[in-house]
Symmetry: C2
Subunit: 423 residues, 2 copies
Amino acid sequence: MPTRKPRNAFYAQSGGVTAVINASACGVIETCRKHKSRIGKVYAGRHGIVGALTEDLIDTSKEPAASIRALRHTPSGAFGSARYKLKKIEDNPAQYERLIEVFKAHDIGYFFYNGGGDSADTCLKVSQLAEKLGYPIQAIHVPKTVDNDLPITDCCPGFGSVAKYVAVSIREAGFDVASMAKTSTKVFVMEVMGRHAGWIAAAGGLASEKAGDAPHIILFPEITFDEERFCARVQECVEKYGYCAIVVSEGVKNSDGKFLSDAGLRDAFGHAQLGGVAPVIAQLIKSKLNYKYHWAVADYLQRAARHIASKVDVEQAYALGKAAVDLALKGHNSVMPTIVRTAHKPYKWKLGIAQLTDVANQEKMLPRDYITEDGFFITAKARRYLSPLIQGEDYPPYKNGLPQYVKLRNAPVRKKIRKTFVV
Amino acid sequence: MPTRKPRNAFYAQSGGVTAVINASACGVIETCRKHKSRIGKVYAGRHGIVGALTEDLIDTSKEPAASIRALRHTPSGAFGSARYKLKKIEDNPAQYERLIEVFKAHDIGYFFYNGGGDSADTCLKVSQLAEKLGYPIQAIHVPKTVDNDLPITDCCPGFGSVAKYVAVSIREAGFDVASMAKTSTKVFVMEVMGRHAGWIAAAGGLASEKAGDAPHIILFPEITFDEERFCARVQECVEKYGYCAIVVSEGVKNSDGKFLSDAGLRDAFGHAQLGGVAPVIAQLIKSKLNYKYHWAVADYLQRAARHIASKVDVEQAYALGKAAVDLALKGHNSVMPTIVRTAHKPYKWKLGIAQLTDVANQEKMLPRDYITEDGFFITAKARRYLSPLIQGEDYPPYKNGLPQYVKLRNAPVRKKIRKTFVV
């Protein structure tokens, strides 16, 4: 039987990055390196699929093993990510012809795409290149999103670490405000991500283990904001506990269906809103209840906080990267490895598999029964689901008091195609 | 020689709390417990000096050793803090007579006050009770302030941990933005504390170890904000590095001497500014340079972040608490133990002593030669000073994925005075 040089793999990161997406990259690359007879080099797309379209590829084989290993503890997307969505094959065949041209030039037989719902759709479209355009390729999606909104998989890598950051941070800030409340700040508002679903906000609730613990109120995108009921609840907390700590999702909407953050701020000249729902909530409390307040907006800090990553999250991120390669080696195409929960307490999980047609463009919403009836907190059911995902610490190495994150060389692969492609 | 029952100690926390003020409390209480023949019970003031004035005392002897030990890893002020300043003895003698009444009723012979510059002034006034009003007491100040602005001491407990939080956070967010910059966010703005001095903002500079590392720009309260020069610098960074990460101090002022945060925001109705300089800076960048931005306001998260505390900071906080008791046992009054730096690299420090008359109401400003000539970054000299203060990690214990911070019982001491006192 004639031996054939093994085909190469393409790997890219897509959408908003996380504290552990590089742990998935580590899982993909380390696993590929263990199967050199089956998979050639791993070429990473610089800035996601854009790197494929522009033939801007990174030769990961130039990275020493220690650098690849260090990806496991490095937040962000080491190869650059992108917010870029492919059109349908029918609507933009040139884009797909270009992809095939690049893949062919570099003998790409495996396509690993690491992202959320939109990215699963891109991966699905690439997986159809074989069937629709006759280019043989296996496309496997590696799940990632802090929003935790992918279907089928029990959870999404990236979410557990944000969840941990949010729960730790509101616990710490809650202790702080409790100390100050007698003569100073009585209300603290922390804004967290999650424009469409309240998964991240819900995680803040884990910090409260008994009555009176911070946070006292959570504002979800799923629950229409009711100013009067909210203010009454804040006042109740301040009177009962001396202070009130609030987690608010950036996606909270008023009864007109508008984001509170949009409704809120103008600059001094009256134009252009600046985002940020925390100051809007804080201002409301000040004007209605006259409590001294502080507010924080964690923004990127929450999703980049590798220093306080969840160990479960890191392990799952790596495992899913590895699983993607294993699935490819078994001949799969158009699939995504998933996390299957087999027990709540003690938490147990195993790997599963989902068809990309069932994953792409589907959002898993926070179930209503994860939110208490009054709309201001999480239920025991939510806690049972969320708690395992923040378990364990996985500290990065430190030098000079700072976490040592790796910056890869990211050596370019020599271009083989003269024609450029504008994205 | 007749033996006398040892006199009791009063301990209280004052001003804004920190990640390590409880480590000082731990140092004070554990050391007092080791000298039971010399010091009786430690009574903590509930909410700082307010607890003394209202005879609202906490009997720390009711706390088991494990709880006191756990203060070492618990952020915030376990006994409650207060923003409350005593008047001059001449201006409000009734206040001091009340203090003496309470101290006498509970046989307080030692007064340990844990705070910043304003609190040192309170401690100084109490130290004068002996001389001016004939009540024998030894008052020792335990330094604490995230602002790092106390004179004489090389640094202030609380600062090192905020410094570490800020440096770690901007490094992590910098990695995140670098990944996204090609097709999305190009500028990230992180607001940090420090209304009067740029110590905390300066610490962000430690994250940048070589050219191109985040942060690229630091905005100090000491440097008048120049919109044009700033925008030019942002553009330069984006063009050179692909993105720009900025640390901005809440205290940045414009050429009129006004805080940028005050100049900035109005709510939708045009009234009431909400604070927050980060969104003002972000908006400016958007309107002048049209870069996509994200911004974060760390607020209390930065000073409460015990999970990423500096080991050096925790050790110094404990050591200063212990030293305060040792100074009292040696007969001192009206002093503050200090940190004396004896070597930069490897960093070495020892304990010193300062007179409260030299400490109270003095602010140590960030030296101009810690800021680069262009006003946008820190110098090598600043780095040499700051770097040792963030060294080492001192992780709290975790349970269920969350740091286990102690909540004390805070059992009240039975009141002995009928008369109430309104503060």
